[in-house]
Symmetry: C2
Subunit: 187 residues, 2 copies
DNA sequence: ATCACTGTATACAGATTAGTATAATGATGC
DNA sequence: GCATCATTATACTAATCTGTATACAGTGAT
């Protein structure tokens, strides 16, 4: 049971979030994680691989958490959509919230042929599709439009919350989501 | 009439947008701008100063453009709010749109004590206040809430449009804005 | 005890970065 | 013709970065 790989992953995730990805050197990561570069490069062949793994892990954690919450606490499909932003608020305001990786990563790696950009773009679409899935299950007519709008609000709120913690942006995002969902439901 | 300072500014702005700020070296900027580092450092004391000037210029350009559009094409205050996102769409889809600086900058410089982060955070707030001003003039009751929601949608749409050009995100943002404005108006 | 394995420690290579020092160029005005 | 000024060209420093090479320490199994 090594645990070192995970230690490096979470350390890198935190540093990327607080210092930025490009501004965080490999030396800093191993120093904070309490290991050496040799070990890091054994588990992750390059810094780029490490970045990709951090993104994958963060996305997986979020999706699993959200899916569990919705599965356990709601029964009807329409309820899932309604409560979506309640759980997003819970996630964003939780003390161990360390940002949404793909939003920052796409800003730091804007070139479309870059693997990091491609993964974060893909994750962004994946999240939008998840909302789309919830919307169609809830019998929303314009599921495509609503899911795009809700993902816009999500990204905007996370961006705002990242920019200034405790700004309350997520609260207004929640009410905006409710309005848009109601509007799309009675159509 | 030098023009060199402006040439460096616009070149840097384009490169920051397409390649990222941290990924764009000073050597690249002067090479593309067709000048030398000596000249760049004469006009801008450091790369950080250059970044700040690029942000200031971009924000100024956007605000002037938007303000002129609203002043010339609308008469009643409520009309301004209604047409806000029409002009934002025009701005975002224009061929010389090179992104919204403060959104990317805050992602690349997440540390709150960083001057670049502070400026971009300040510009984000300034834009929100501008919407707040439009909302109060239009006699919106919860102007604070609506302006926050609209700025969320704005940032989300720009983020999405930056991530994938021509994604159509701005179209759905526009209808979302209309719904939220109407909801806040009849309250 | 020896072997295999994981991780440490440290030094280094090679590339890239921001920023500076110095000399040369070219145009303008007097 | 001469001085002034902005700009260029080029070389350099010093720091930082990713990634690697090498020698060493500890641990567990047989």
């Amino acid at each position: 049971m090594t645990g070192l790989r995970e230690k490096i992953l979470t350390t890198a995730s935190n540093l990327f979030q607080t210092q930025g990805i490009n501004s965080t050197g490999v030396d800093t990561i191993v120093a904070v994680a309490g290991t050496t570069k040799m070990t890091l490069y054994k588990y992750f062949g390059s810094k780029e691989v490490l970045i990709l793994e951090v993104l994958k892990q963060g996305h997986l954690d979020f999706q699993n958490w959200l899916n569990d919450k919705l599965s356990n606490n709601t029964k009807q499909p329409s309820e899932k959509l309604q409560k979506l932003f309640d759980y997003i608020e819970e996630w964003v305001t939780s003390p161990d919230f360390h940002g949404v990786g793909f939003i920052k990563a796409s800003a730091e790696f804007p070139q479309e042929d870059n693997p990091v950009h491609q993964l974060s773009s893909q994750q962004s679409q994946q999240f939008k599709q998840y909302i789309h899935h919830l919307a169609t299950e809830a019998n929303i007519k314009d599921a495509e439009g609503l899911s795009l709008q809700l993902s816009l609000i999500f990204e905007g709120a996370v961006q705002a919350e990242q920019m200034k913690r405790g700004s309350g942006a997520i609260k207004y995002a929640k009410t905006a989501a409710k309005i848009l969902i109601d509007g799309a439901s009675t159509q």
